[in-house]
Amino acid sequence: MMRPETEAELAEMIKAANGPLWIEGGGTRSIGGPREGEVLGTSAMRGIDLYEPGALTMVAKAGTPLAEVEEALEKEGQRLPFEPMDHRTLLGTDGTPTIGGVFAANVSGPRRIQVGAARDFLLGVRFVDGAGQIVSNGGRVMKNVTGYDLVKLLAGSRGTLGVLTELSFKVLPKPGFCGTLLLEGLDDASAVAVLCRALGSPYEVSGAAHRQRGPNGAPITMIRLEGFENSVRYRAAALQLLLAEYGSFELETDPGRAADDWAAIRDVAPFGGQKGDVWRVSVKPTDAPGVVGQVPGAEAIYDWGGGLIWLRVDEGSQASAIRDTVAKVGGHATRIRGAGPGAFQPLAAPLAVLEAGLRARFDPRGILNPGLMGQAA
């Protein structure tokens, strides 16, 4: 395994490489089945280079452990607002998640519906492309339209266009109070209708999820509110009124309980100890219950008001059922846990051509994580 300590060293290693490289941060989020090549890990390039709480910005090396970033933010009462998922429970991996891995896979959690995805918070990148060139794009300011936005292109490209070495990103203050409205017993369609109505209200919902099987076995619908305590209580009351026809919501304000409940959604923890393949499906929220209904034997956790479905199915099964039903309504599906090829969403012809073209330019020798990301449909 190669573990460069500096960007320059990394560039030399990539220049000298004569075969495929398996790029990894902490190695906790690897999907897409068995891979080829020598492992090139970024974990030795680490450290926070700059943190300005008053400007809501941080600059860190890609291999910096996520925990180190979160600890520094916590001290200033701030956080990564997009709430990145920890994949270790679901995938049964161990290792140390890195900030580079978070952005390389564009990993966002429940708060994505309110504040945006990881890619929306990434302000600047430095990376080494497949030819060993060191490239910089974006910066450390919140508004920047200087040239093309390669920052977004690199976010979510899973190391196939370049190896991230340094990231600058926006952070936000952590609100002092959190409340979760809870209601048991709704079927999928009613739950998504509730979540859509809550998200279409002016009450700034920061989490909207539904589990077909909650902690005590019954379905549970969850709506999160954050902010100053008076404001949270006011908005909770307003939402209870707005949603009264669906039942009587209970407001849970215990901080420990809130953290656990939302971490379970974020990490898809209920599927962690259970067998089977797990799919991540993105569709229009109101299409979600219908999509789930078309996949026989699937268990679902809905996040993002229904727009994100986590589907657990029997091992090696239902891939075509999932792909077909998602294709009918519009959206995309990725197999996050499971074996064999076909984990990534196939792309329509013109987009596959564009992606292949980009890949050929950023990695002319095709050595960066071959086999990852999309193929033509």
Partner: protein, 486 residues
């Protein structure tokens, strides 16, 4: 600002080009008469003008595809145009180009409140997107100050921001999908009414690519429920440093205002003379606006006022009513007009880290004295996006050049302190030749490589964004028909 010489071979083929364009478009959608093409000779960067070879006004994705296919086959450059409000010259024609205007494509195609999106044709104006949903209590968040006129197509091309992006983000954060036509006429669908499109984030690259990668004909946009209410507070300080520190403390305190606007003394004086909003005559002025229910607004404003008091303000004015709010915003909203009363002005758009605010304002003051040109500062302080307004006299020989040199120095300063050349207006031709101050050759090369993939012949808006010297090999290869392979 230089533009490439028009290609004589294209000029010579004008009748044939116009004939072929007319063959694929309805009558009245092709403008080739020299008097009429003059209406398209410039955008809001009015110092530069050049009538195009022809103008086409297609009304559908299909027609856009046909136009692009014709131009692609004939090797004619195309400059896409929204409403022509670019301050950076993004829609400035060359004499050998076809202007592709999207103004006839302005329909709302789909509105979905349950899933909170609207799908529109890209020629629709920014404000009329909100107009289509506001009766039902929704709005489209990005609000560039040209929002009455500017088109969604231009917003996407420039990744436009606005006063409220501290809370709601800029165009790229509110764009869910596009229908985009490539230069060879291929129609692509990227993203849609769901989050985070599959594959690479092409949507993220297209947004802000200044019409160089494709022509967006339809867009799926996120809409939000309007907040219950909003109210501002006005705070005056006797130093820029203290005002800057106050901004930083407000942000750190965990309040997230929708807007923090900053004006300096020259700008305050100009707007007072013009609009009479009753602003205090002080060194720096902040307008901070928060949203929510009445009680929520009171609670947030109390925190902001408490922070402000710790910084010894010379003025504190909290709005208690819609009338008072309007009065607080009056001066800020008339700032550009007020500066325009005094003289011609050039509006800059650099972004700096918020912590560098006092230093940068001091340096701009020093440079203003050196250049002998007045400058006023009015900007979005929460995100460090500055808009220095340099006053000059367009009728005085040499003044424009001096103003441009001063502007370039300010933008270089923005880059030196860790910021960038443009926060929301785009590069266009205005900042094209400064790109080498922010990016190394390899950084620009990677960006141009992206254009190679989308537009191998470099026919779409080719003379923008990249310094002419850097893009010359690609543009001349295109002219000789030696396109890099896709």
């Amino acid at each position: 600002m230089e533009m490439p010489q028009p290609d004589a071979r294209i000029l010579a083929r004008k009748p044939e080009i116009v004939r072929q364009l007319s063959a694929v478009l309805p009558a009245g959608a092709v403008i080739s008469d020299e008097a009429e093409t003059r209406a398209y000779e410039c955008d809001a960067l009015t110092a530069y003008k050049c009538p195009p070879l022809a103008v086409v006004l297609p009304a559908s994705t299909r027609e856009v595809s046909d136009v692009l296919r014709v131009c692609h086959e004939m090797g004619v450059p195309v400059v896409p145009r929204g409403s022509g409000t670019s301050l950076a010259g993004g829609a400035l024609p060359t004499g050998d180009c076809v202007i592709l205007g999207v103004a006839r494509m302005n329909d709302v195609l789909e509105t979905d409140y349950e899933n909170r999106f609207i799908r529109v044709q890209s020629g629709r104006t920014n404000l009329s997107v909100t107009g289509a949903v506001e009766a039902d209590g929704f709005f489209y968040a990005p609000d560039p100050s040209s929002q009455l006129a500017c088109a969604i197509a231009g917003n996407i091309a420039m990744n436009s921001g606005g006063a409220h992006c501290l809370k709601y983000g800029v165009t790229t954060n509110n764009l869910m999908g596009v229908t985009m036509v490539l230069m060879d006429g291929t129609v692509t669908e990227i993203g849609g009414a769901y989050l985070d499109a599959a594959g690479y984030d092409l949507l993220g690259v297209i947004c802000g690519s200044e019409g160089q990668l494709g022509v967006v004909t339809e867009a799926t946009l996120r809409i939000l429920r309007k907040p219950e209410g909003a109210r501002p507070v006005l705070i005056g300080f006797d130093s820029n440093e203290v005002a800057g520190a106050c901004v930083s403390d407000i942000i750190k305190a965990g309040v997230l205002p929708v807007a923090i606007e900053f004006m300096d003394r020259p700008c305050i004086r100009a707007t007072e003379a013009f609009a009479g909003a009753g602003y205090p005559d002080c060194e720096a002025l902040l307008i901070v606006e928060v949203e929510g229910s009445d009680a929520e607004i009171d609670e947030q404003l109390a925190i902001i006022l408490e922070i402000a008091r710790r910084h010894d303000p010379v003025e504190l004015r909290e709005s208690k009513s819609a009338e008072e709010s309007a009065r607080i915003w009056l001066g800020r909203k008339s700032a550009f007009g007020a500066m325009g009363q005094i003289n011609d002005y050039m509006c800059l758009d650099g972004t700096i880290p918020v912590s560098q605010l006092p230093f940068v304002l001091r340096r701009i003051g020093e440079m203003s004295r050196d250049y002998g040109l007045d400058v006023g500062n009015v900007f979005h302080a929460g995100d460090g996006n500055m808009h220095p307004l340099i006053l000059y006299d367009a009728n005085k020989p040499g003044d424009l050049e001096r103003c441009e040199a001063f502007g370039a120095d300010i933008l270089k300063l923005c880059v030196e302190v860790g910021g960038c050349l443009t926060g929301e207006h785009g590069v266009g031709i205005e900042k094209r030749d400064l790109m080498t101050h922010q990016y190394a050759p390899v950084d620009l090369e990677m960006q141009m490589a992206v254009k190679d993939v989308f537009d191998p012949g470099w026919l779409l808006n080719p003379a923008k964004v990249f310094p002419l010297a850097e893009s010359a090999p690609r543009r001349s290869a295109a002219e000789q028909g030696l396109c890099p392979s896709p």
